[in-house]
Each structure stands twice: as structure tokens, then as C-alpha cells.
Symmetry: C2
Subunit: 428 residues, 2 copies
């Protein structure tokens, strides 16, 4: 049953030796994962097995995180749902063709399968023009955002800076004395928000020895049992990390800095991230469903990638950004905060990562800033999660996926040109 | 700090040797449980410590079950909230006096503290006449119902019987062949629904060797680690239980029979209990918040006691029963199903348990039937959870509590006369 993905569509950069079922073959309904009373042993997806984030189990798991691990609610509250009008353009969009970075010409719809899309919604000029669900995802089911969580953190952090509640020039220990002597001991909040921290920590999703795996165990996203020393709490883990190199010199993606930022925010707001998301976003955007966040053993929400939300609720947040913080007449976030994100940072600092896939990008307040012709800013998460806001095309794309490859190398060769082509089409 | 509860109010039947902080002293906000970033080690409540259901940790934990263990959503959907009108009678009710079973005269309000109440709402003639929250509970927070979960199961099971989808005279293996040779191998559905099953399983919450503890481990309510053999799934655990004595002779409270009933229901409906509660109850009653259920390692909702809901949403279900299944013109459950519950069963079968506290009661479709002067039927759960419906007083009482004693021996000596006195007052 295992097929070489290259027999179908082979995104540039996928490890040659690795083969995967394609998106249709790996549909969890087709495979029978977690069906039956109880599911047969070879169709079970359990947290303790530590295989729920493996492929193809991940195709079910990302729509069912709360059934696998403890979570805290991100409550929508009792406000009416903000309905999004519709203007269906599926036919045009499905047939749109574009050139993937490996040179092949692809149809938009085929690209959804090639990137193992679980769901996608496209909002143009405030109306839903395209919406599809695949595999285990349903419109009312929250799906893991993974690191798209970070753009919520970065935006709310920048908002606190704009209000003067946080001082971006202050060093982290000003707010969290417990982080003296750690990697963040002499880092400014601005450096943390922009991921310009020199820290001895690696972010390699495929390597079980990587720092990100230890981080995931500490914050409850992977089982603690069967592993060597795991700190009692996420905060205890952060305190083990030491400085390596300099701060402020170059962008370097380190999820742990998002946790530091959320810790700072919780200190000054008195609310943990789940409560703050309720207060600032969920209760104000007319979200359709509650979201939720994975928590560490003492209830700390996982700010680096623990949020799950419905596809349309993620799109609502994207629309808030596209509208420069205005939500039907209420300025929820100052336009200046979002303008600053859109201006981005020095692409030279970003280029030092050596990414060929994101040429010309910069990174600001936990957003990827494309500096492309449609002004796109992006939230990106493992396995293909994406929130793509292109103000100059009046477009927001929210996409969930369960790509076998964690790193965006698995789908950027398709997704980057795909979404740019969509923006070009829609702005006309 | 540990005080003898008898220095305040000593409910009849509490173990003499045991002493507890009283309700005010054990308020989790006062004690600082789970406060701080992160909480101090001696103020942490974690799942793995297996102390979260101990007192006083339980005073926080029962309002935060999802942050401790995996859960599945019981979705309210997008229907409008059914608002319940108010007609405040707090002053009258707080001052109501009654005689506890140990002979002392108590005020209604004092009884709330004596039973470690987390929240109580009284609905009379369809209006909220009394509503209070204590400790960690808030109106929007779901709280563990523990075994009040069973009245949802029993009511929906009786409804399936009334529709002819289940045949109460059939034996369990007719629906679940996997249970041949177990305690339920020759038990009828009616015997299961009415807890008249002879099974080698003990239900002693204070005894770590009791069957109920093994059950809790199997279904994810207590940690599996550090224990001897724990079956992989809840269903595997049920299959280990053997018959002891006869069926149909006497009532005997065995939580595992609720799980068997829910397994049967899932077989015929194709929906697990969380999905079925959404479909039949939550989506139709205009509930305010989603509920949720604890799940076993393969996602099976814990039907014997895994439901959490807000206080008012539990009261809505009580109102549905009081109104004989009619919800604002929609007959959600046939009146005949509820009439049958109210008629109850033979009190002689119930009396064989030797309960002095519930004299004259019977048990039907997982409801306690009081046969008292206000026609009360009750759902009861560990640590003082209670849903009390008194049709002849047009009254519903929903109460959450975190009493140090799991068994109802801890609060029945107060609660039984308290609620009867309230019903007498309100019917006038």
C-alpha cells in the first residue's frame, strides 16, 4: 500500500528515500483509524504510544487533539456568531493553474491533495469564496494550528507594547526574574518577539534528540513516560536553556521564545494565554466554536503551538488582521500594530537562515512577512498549517493540513506559489 | 490548619476519625491551589500525582477536569441559548430551616457550606429562584457530574426502548457478542438499566483496591502508570468482570453497568455517548456551553461518571424531565418514558442494600426514585453531585459539590431533608 509520493506529486525538497501514502490513500476514514467499538488494536491512535503525530495517524489526530491530551478551553462566550457572507468561486479557483517551485504546472485543487490539506477557506473582500474539508476535519471541529498559534501570541504581544503595558526595550528578567542566567537573561522583548535569540536549542521535528522534542514532552504534547529526565513544567524546561551566540543578529526560529513571550504576557495581564485569547479574540470576533489549548502538567497553555480552532475561526482572525484590527466598527487592535507587522523587518536578518523557499521574507512579531506583490504576511505551522493574509489582494487563506513532513519544506514549494497565484487572480 | 469538621457541622455517618478543613477554609482560591506562574510545587494539582481527586485538591479539580485528562466535546451547536427567567427568592431560601438526619436544625445556606457546595441553582415553575457559586466554580465552567452522568444514560436508554430501537427483554450479548461469558452474559437490558446485576465488582471509593478504582484507571479518570496490569481500554476491562450471584433479584449499584448500557446504545445508534448527548440533549435544549466527557485511551467516553457540564445546563436537563420531555413545544423524550421513571421500581429490591439514608427509595433507569411527597427523582454523583427533580413541587435543584467524602453518606443526612424542605416551601 505504501506508494512513492513522487508517483503522484513530489514536492521539491521531500527526502528522496521517504515514501508515503498519498492524501486520498491516507484518508483516516478510508483507513478506518479510530473506528469501531472499540477500534481494532492496529487502528488505534493513543497518546501513550507516541505515534499520534506520525503519518498517517496524524491525519486523524490533528482534528482530535483534546481526545489525546489535557486541554484548556478558549471560550467564545455568548455573543452571536459573526456570519461570513458567501460568494462561491470554487469553479474558478479549482481550475487555477500555477507553477510549483520544481517547475511543474499544477491545478489549485490538485495542490490541495499534494499538500495533504485537511481544510481550506478563502475569504476575499470579506466573503467566503472557497471552502473545502477533507479527511477527519469537519467545519465545527477544532484542528491543531501548531505554530500558527505564534501569530496570535506575537500580535497580542505587539498590542501590549503599543499600549505601553510592555516595554519592548526591556530585557526579559525585568518581567521574569526566574529567567536570569538563561538564554533570555539579556534578551530584549523585541528580540524575543522577532526570534532573534541565540539559544542552545534545536528545532528539528524529525529528530527525536532535537530540543523541540524535549520541549514537547515538557509541555504535554508528547508522552513523558519512557523518556529520560523531563522537567516538571514547561517553565522549568525553559530555565534549563542557555545562551549560544548573540541576540539581535539574525532570525532563528526557536519555538521556546514564544513560550517566554507568553510567560511575560501572563505576568502583566494576570491571565494565561487561553484566558487572554478568550478576552481579546474569541469573545470579540463572534467565533463559531470554542477553541482550546494543550497544557503542561500544571495547566500552562502551550503558546508555541498548542492552539486548536475551527478553520473559519482561524479565518476570522486573519480577517481581523486584513482589516487592520477593525472588526465591524470596533478597533480591537490598533492599525499601527498591524502596519508594523506588514512592514516587517530586515530581510537580510532572515536570509541568514539560508532558506531558499522563502527568499526575500522577513520575520516580525512572530509573523512571516513575504514582502511580495500582494503584501502577504503569514502564520505557519508544522505539517502545513497556514494563515495567509494578503491585504493587497483583499484575501485571507486559512488552511489546515496533515502533511507527512513536519517542516514546511514539505509544502512550501507548492504553497508559496499557489497562494501567490490565487492572490493575483482574486485582486483582478 | 486541619480542623475536625464536627467542630462546625458533622454530617451523620462521617468517619469519626477523619477530619477535614471546612468549606470556607478549603476554598481553593484561599489555599492558592494552581495559582502563580507556575504554581508553587506544594500548590500544584497534577493528574499523574493521582491526588487530584483527594481533598482538598478536589475542590479545584472538579471544575477543571479537562485540564487534567483527555476529553471529548459535547457540543452545544449554534442554536440560540434558551434563557431561563429569574424570580429571585434567595432571602426566603437562605433562611429556610430544616432538621438534618442527626436531629440538628440547620439553615439552608449553612447546609450549602456543610456539604461543600460548589454551586447550586434552584428552578421553580421554570424560573431560577436561587443560584450560588462557591470556590473554583463559575457559571460558565463545566464541573464534573460524576455519576449524575448516569441519569442521562438511563433516560436516553429508556427512550431507545420506547422507540423500539432497543428491546429491554433481550440479553446483552444480543447487542454485544463480546460480552458473552462475562457478568452480563445472561443479563437483560432492563436488569442493566435498573442495576440489578450480580457482578464481582466492588464500588468503594475510599479503598484503592476496590473495583471502581480499576475501572477509573481503565477509563482514564486515574493514572495508569505505577499500577499493576491495567487493560488497554474500558471495554477490555468490562470483559474481565464475572458474574457473582443472580441478576434481577436486588438493586446493587455498579457503575460498570452504565458502561455496558452506553456500549449497547453506541452499537445501535452508531454514535458514541458524547455525540449522542450532542444530538439528543445539548443541541436541543439551548445549552449555554459545550459539555465534555473524559475518555479512555481509545476515545470511549466514560458513561458511568465522565460528564462535565455547567450548572445551568444540568438544570436545563432537569427541567426537561420535570416538563415530562416537552421543551418549549418539542417533545424531545416521550412523557411515558419519564412517567415510567417516576413510578420507579419495587422499593423492596432497593431496601436490600440496607441504606438507612434512602428509606423507601427505588431505582429505575439509573434514577433514584424517592417516592416522597413531592415525587422527587434524583441523579446522584460522588462528592455530592445532585440533580433533584420534584414534579409535585414544580422544582428542579442542580447542585455541584466537592465533599471530602466520595460516598453520599457524606451529604445525604443533610441533603435529603434539605431538598425535601425546600420543595415543601416552594409548592405552597
Amino acid at each position: 500500500m505504501i506508494r512513492d509520493v513522487s508517483s503522484g506529486i513530489n514536492p521539491l525538497g521531500l527526502p528522496d528515500s521517504q515514501t508515503y501514502l498519498n492524501a486520498v490513500e491516507s484518508d483516516p476514514r478510508l483507513l478506518g483509524w479510530m473506528q469501531g467499538l472499540p477500534p481494532q488494536p492496529d487502528k488505534r491512535i493513543t497518546f501513550e504510544s507516541d505515534q499520534f503525530l506520525d503519518f498517517p495517524q496524524i491525519r486523524w489526530a490533528l482534528s482530535h487533539m483534546r481526545e489525546l491530551a489535557p486541554t484548556v478551553n478558549v471560550r467564545r462566550g455568548s455573543a452571536p456568531i459573526s456570519q461570513i457572507e458567501r460568494d462561491d468561486r470554487s469553479h474558478d479557483i479549482d481550475g487555477l493553474t500555477f507553477d510549483a517551485l520544481d517547475g511543474r504546472t499544477m491545478r489549485f485543487e490538485d495542490a490541495l491533495y499534494a499538500t495533504y490539506t485537511d481544510g481550506i477557506v478563502v475569504v476575499h473582500r470579506g466573503r467566503i469564496v472557497y471552502e473545502r474539508y477533507f479527511g477527519a476535519l469537519e467545519p465545527h471541529l477544532p484542528h491543531a494550528l501548531h505554530s500558527v498559534t505564534k501569530v496570535y501570541v506575537g500580535t497580542l504581544a505587539a498590542d501590549l507594547v503599543s499600549k505601553g503595558i510592555l516595554d519592548e526595550t526591556k530585557e526579559v528578567p525585568h518581567y521574569i526574574p526566574e529567567l536570569r542566567g538563561t538564554a533570555w537573561g539579556d534578551a530584549t522583548l523585541r528580540q524575543v518577539m522577532d526570534m532573534q535569540i541565540g539559544v542552545d536549542y534545536t528545532e528539528d521535528y524529525e529528530n527525536p534528540q532535537s530540543g523541540v522534542r524535549a520541549y514537547m514532552r515538557a509541555c504535554g504534547m508528547r508522552p513523558r513516560s519512557g523518556n529520560s529526565y523531563v522537567p516538571d513544567t514547561l517553565f522549568d524546561y525553559l530555565r534549563t536553556l542557555r545562551k549560544e551566540g548573540e541576540h539581535g543578529v539574525a532570525y532563528a526560529y526557536k519555538t521556546v521564545s514564544s513560550e517566554v513571550m507568553a510567560w511575560v504576557m501572563a505576568k502583566v495581564t494576570g491571565l494565561n494565554l487561553a484566558e487572554y485569547l478568550h478576552d481579546r479574540i474569541w469573545s470579540r470576533l463572534g467565533c463559531e466554536e470554542d477553541g482550546y489549548m494543550l497544557v503542561d502538567p500544571v495547566g500552562t497553555p502551550m503558546a508555541g503551538g498548542g492552539l486548536s480552532a475551527t478553520l473559519r475561526d482561524m479565518a476570522r482572525f486573519g480577517e481581523l488582521i486584513r482589516r487592520e484590527g477593525d472588526w465591524h466598527g470596533n478597533q480591537l487592535i490598533p492599525a499601527s500594530v498591524i502596519d508594523e507587522v506588514r512592514r516587517g523587518d530586515d530581510p537580510e536578518k532572515f536570509a541568514k537562515t539560508g532558506s531558499d523557499l522563502l527568499r526575500g521574507y522577513s520575520y516580525r512579531a512572530m509573523w512571516y512577512v513575504s514582502h511580495n506583490e500582494i503584501g502577504a504576511v503569514e502564520g505557519k505551522g508544522m505539517n502545513g498549517q497556514r494563515l495567509y493574509i494578503a491585504p493587497d489582494a483583499e484575501m485571507v487563506v486559512a488552511r489546515f493540513a496533515s502533511h507527512p513532513v513536519g517542516s514546511s519544506i514539505g509544502n512550501d514549494p507548492i504553497t508559496v506559489p499557489q497562494l501567490l497565484a490565487l492572490g493575483r487572480m482574486l485582486r483582478e
